[in-house]
Subunit: 233 residues, 2 copies
Amino acid sequence: MANEPVEALLFDVFGTLVDWRGSIARELATLLPTVDGDAFARAWRGRYQPSMERIRSGRRGFVRLDVLHRENLLETLDEFAVTGLNDEEIDHLNRVWHRLAPWPDVVEGLMRLRKKYIVAPCSNGNVALMTRLAKNNGMPFDVILGAEPTRSYKPMRETYLGSADLLDLPPGRCMMVAAHNSDLAAARDCGLQTGFFARPEEYGDGHDEDREAGADWTIIACDLLDLAERMGC
Amino acid sequence: MANEPVEALLFDVFGTLVDWRGSIARELATLLPTVDGDAFARAWRGRYQPSMERIRSGRRGFVRLDVLHRENLLETLDEFAVTGLNDEEIDHLNRVWHRLAPWPDVVEGLMRLRKKYIVAPCSNGNVALMTRLAKNNGMPFDVILGAEPTRSYKPMRETYLGSADLLDLPPGRCMMVAAHNSDLAAARDCGLQTGFFARPEEYGDGHDEDREAGADWTIIACDLLDLAERMGC
């Protein structure tokens, strides 16, 4: 069966569009120069899935990712024996997620794609986070979708299906774009089309699972500019 | 007490940013040339508040405005004795709300304001409607807020407070911008700052209540460009 024409591109953000590891390490080099910024970033991010899993499983009600990030930050500061930060400094550090830098192909790729498609994040990041991240970087989204508007964390079906529904589109007229095979597998399971490119620098060494496409995704590209070209932009 | 610095501008849309009456009348001149398009537009819009009131009062659960618009359209077609449209034609006519034209100062005004502020609709229009309306007109919103993300219709407090909360801002750091005094009164009651300019052409003759500012709003401007200038843009 031929694919339906795509009207909206839904983007994973952390890792796919922005470099969380490098961005956090760079800020920490200034804020906490005695800490190994790269290790700190990976340890902080390592608490991401378990903290959402408590919500996915129903053991905890929905709270936005800024809240989970801050809780996870306090634990990570403990782990790295960082003491003496006041609440304002901790809040500032927590909002590093609002200031992450995009990969070099992202702004141009989104600018090209938005001429033909609705472009929106479908991220686990909350609305305030995504809005400021996009604004800080000139990422021209048409609308912020994803976890908070659907009150569910990927890979729950509701995040994908609820995001398509907010656009009043059947899932098959949306394409999920991600550098993570597991995200695309969940989106495909909900009927969305899928676009993949790898971000080998996301984690650095020792994280091999997303170095290449793990299935016959609708589009397999080199990066966002290549995906834009394949999508006729 | 001095006002807090504003970080986000929340916009009323129908009437304030876009000309629903003129846009609908122009489309009807082609689609239904025997109908008085201006009278039809006003009759259709006349069913807007009562249809939302059933939801505000709790007599009906939340449904998005596209649904209310379609129900109200069917009644208006009856009133004007229009018959013979098929479902697809009715759907197309209903989506005229996605294609409304902005007033001449709007796109430039938003472009200027977004350089300094988060700009977002806080409208009773649903996400799919607002996303396509903005995209069709080049209105560069950072995020779509308002009725559907908060599952409440203005002037309920939840629409204003929930929109500010999605941005993680206290109400006083948001400014509601509208050409309708009642919208601003409700927003001020929730602690938001307020910006007003009149749109005397919105209804045409016989609708005098919003020809001028009805209170000492935070900013009273001539139009969106004047408001941008007064906001330092």
